[in-house]
């Protein structure tokens, strides 16, 4: 099975071949490296940019004004902070101009912790991103969703930010991307650039197919009647694992929702599940003060106050200036499996 980052690369190949992508660019995105996470190896329209995140976003917007379809990369979301005003502008171009200009750009950037990245390779970005009206924000937690969300992001005529969970980039999917070869070693030989000299290397692209994951559609990855857990990105597979373990150990059954789209989010899916269980936990690793999960909590309280059996809750990253390199720091800064499992157990077993 393809890894998440291979899925992104396959999606970009599909995008530049069939969906009109004209430019894939950013720092180290073109040859020889093809991206620090290899997301852009072998792509026909990939090129290296100056080390200038504001320039990258500006270039993308300019390309879009002139009818191109750019996909740009910010190497790590940790380095996107100096572009926030340009992100705001990209999000408001259509609105500010009364529909005169669309802004069909895709910005992809690795987000979150889990790669021992210390202060500046561990940031999360979705809470900041969720405040950018006019954008759509997605975050896949597996390879197939990464492929399908990338295709939707490319095809959507609005600015779409694809947050790629750093910790999951090398994780293999459990489901095949349509057109992917059976043998993962074969896929590697076809599309991964060789280590060392790459001059003359060309990828052999498998005949990948169209596969869209709709924006605004969550995936119910586990079903159960005891409680609801909503997550996305790095913490999603941890929630799934915790749900499986609690089913084994305590016979507790959870609805686990992979939100996939941060904005627009699938309110219908959250609402339906809360109506069923009356118990909800929202898990993400962004810092806890003014966290996107708090917005979801507010919606839950507004709409389902009288449907809730117990206190609704969140499990989020600590409000601290950074994530320290020593793993004692990281483990104790952002949610890990044991805390998630315990929070889920407590939620499901609290007396109503």
């Amino acid at each position: 099975m393809a890894t998440l980052v291979q899925a992104v690369r396959l999606a970009l190949h599909y995008g530049e071949t069939y969906l009109g992508v004209t430019d894939i660019f950013g720092e180290d995105v073109g040859p020889p490296l093809g991206g620090v996470f290899t997301a852009t190896q072998g792509l026909r329209t990939a090129w290296n940019s100056p080390l200038d995140e504001r320039g990258i976003l500006g270039m993308a917007m300019g390309i879009a004004y002139a009818g191109g379809r750019p996909v740009c990369e910010i190497q790590f979301c940790d380095y996107a902070f100096n572009t926030i005003d340009l992100m705001k502008i990209a999000g408001n171009q259509r609105w500010a101009s009364g529909g005169n200009y669309d802004m069909p750009i895709v910005l992809m950037t690795p987000s979150g912790s889990g790669i021992r990245g210390s202060l500046y390779h561990s940031h999360s970005f979705e809470s900041w991103a969720s405040r950018l009206a006019g954008w759509k924000i997605v975050m896949p937690s597996n390879a197939l969703d990464a492929y399908g969300l990338m295709l939707s992001a490319i095809a959507d005529p609005n600015p779409v930010m694809v947050l790629l969970p750093k910790a999951l980039l090398r994780v293999r999917g459990e489901q095949k991307i349509p057109g992917e070869p059976e043998d993962e070693e074969e896929l590697k030989r076809m599309i991964d650039a060789p280590v060392g000299d790459r001059t003359g290397w060309q990828p052999r692209w498998p005949p990948v197919q169209e596969y869209f994951v709709p924006l605004g559609k969550a995936a119910l990855v586990r079903t159960g009647h005891h409680a609801t857990v909503v997550s996305y990105g790095r913490t999603l597979p941890l929630c799934v694992k915790a749900a499986d373990e609690l089913r084994e150990s305590h016979g507790l059954m959870f609805d686990v929702l992979d939100l996939r789209s941060i904005f627009p989010y699938d309110w219908h899916a959250i609402s339906q599940s809360v109506m069923k269980t009356g118990r909800i936990l929202i898990v993400n690793e962004d810092t806890e003060v003014t966290n996107f999960g708090e917005h979801l909590l507010r919606r839950v309280i507004d709409h389902h106050y009288y449907d809730l059996l117990v206190r609704p809750r969140v499990l989020l990253g600590q409000h601290i200036p950074g994530i320290g390199l020593n793993q004692e720091y990281e483990k104790n800064s952002v949610p890990q499996l044991p805390q998630i499992r315990e929070a889920m157990r407590a939620l499901a077993t609290e007396e109503a």
């Binding site: 504001r54 270039m59 002139a66 200009y101 009206a133 005529p157 219908h268």
Partner: protein, 361 residues
């Protein structure tokens, strides 16, 4: 009858004489065309300043003092839609450019009056924040500096497309301190990927209240282009003839060489920064409209009567435009969310436009 152009039979000349300024000249007809446009642009701005004081509009910012450069710029733009034509990333003092390109005065007034019929922003943005996709005028943005980083993007598409369309980007002197100005030079001169960007700095010597000389040591802003191999020149932006030629030279270079060029136009700021600083007429700065009118009178292609007829026509046009704009529909509460999103087949929550927070429980 008021005299606009010296007729050949009146003065015995075979052809109309050119109007000269220093080493440059322009045909008299062209000068009269520029003058009329300058007067119209000025009249529109002054009418809008009144609106800001009468309550028919709120904030005013604009370009009185930049007409001598902005009008010749607008007249020389290759006007149209798509990469074959010039892209314009303008600042908020470019009324003269839009008027010269053919924008009716009422299109400026409507934005000041915040009507739903405002074609630039539907009554959402400040005045002078133009957006005309038919002419590649991308939305003017209040954020200082950002135009410099967006301009290479349109130029990148133009370079790849072929043709002779260029990207024109305009900003103030103080705004060149933003890193985005440096970004523009870097992105436009990547070796092998040089871009057709005409960088224009309108140097009025101030950023709001701060004199440029207190913050900037560089002698000329265009000097910053030198290490990048960006040719540049400083031009008297109060002189439409000198400005015309500087713009013509610059455009010829950028169109043909497909590389950047920089102009620094020294201009006036005749009503201060904006209505926030009172929009009071400044007395000690050159007034290009008055100067050019006088020059044309002295050259004998215009007389006092002709000049006042031009002024009167412009004022009448503005009054009529305002009268009309005030009758037009205003945005309503139902319009707040409109035009947030373009329709998408791939969005199940907002297939058409934004409709408020996700719902459906």
């Amino acid at each position: 009858m008021a005299r606009e152009i010296v007729q050949p039979e009146e003065n015995g000349l075979a052809v109309l004489s050119d109007i000269t300024s220093g080493e440059y000249s322009l045909p008299a007809e062209r000068c009269l065309e520029i003058y009329r446009l300058m007067v119209r642009a000025r009249a529109m701005e002054e009418r809008m300043i009144k609106m800001s004081k009468s309550g028919e509009g709120y904030f005013w910012i604009g370009g009185p003092g930049e007409e001598a450069f902005n009008v010749p710029l607008g007249l020389q733009v290759k006007k149209g839609r798509g990469p074959d034509y010039d892209y314009l990333h303008l600042h908020y003092r470019n009324s003269g450019t839009l008027i010269a390109m053919g924008m009716p005065v009422i299109d400026g007034i409507r934005q000041m009056a915040m009507t739903w019929t405002d074609r630039h922003s539907r009554g959402r943005n400040f005045v002078g924040h133009y957006c005309v996709p038919e002419w590649n005028v991308v939305p003017v943005c209040s954020v200082i500096g950002v135009a410099w980083v967006k301009a290479p993007g349109t130029a990148h598409v133009q370079k790849r497309y072929g043709g002779d369309g260029i990207t024109i980007v305009v900003g103030g002197d103080a705004g060149t301190a933003e890193g985005d100005f440096g970004s523009c030079m870097i992105w436009s001169t990547r070796p092998g990927n040089e871009l057709p960007v005409l960088m224009i700095v309108m140097n009025n010597g101030y950023g709001i209240s701060t004199p440029a000389a207190t913050q900037h040591a560089e002698l000329h802003i265009v000097d910053r282009g030198k290490p990048f191999g960006i040719p540049g020149e400083v031009v008297d932006g109060n002189d439409p003839i000198a400005s015309w030629h500087a713009i013509e030279r610059a455009m010829r270079y950028v169109r043909q060489e497909r590389r950047p060029y920089m102009i620094e136009a020294l201009v006036s700021r005749l009503y201060g920064h904006s209505s926030s600083s009172g929009a009071m007429r400044v007395k000690d700065e050159r007034d290009c409209v008055a100067e050019f009118g006088q020059k044309l009178i002295e050259a004998g292609v215009l007389d006092e009567e002709g000049a006042s007829a031009i002024r009167k026509a412009a004022l009448d046009e503005c009054e009529k435009a305002l009268e009309q704009a005030l009758k037009e529909p205003k945005p309503t509460a139902d319009d707040v969310r409109r035009f947030t999103y373009a329709s998408s087949f791939h969005d199940v929550v907002y297939p058409d436009d934004y409709t408020g927070l996700p719902n459906g429980d």
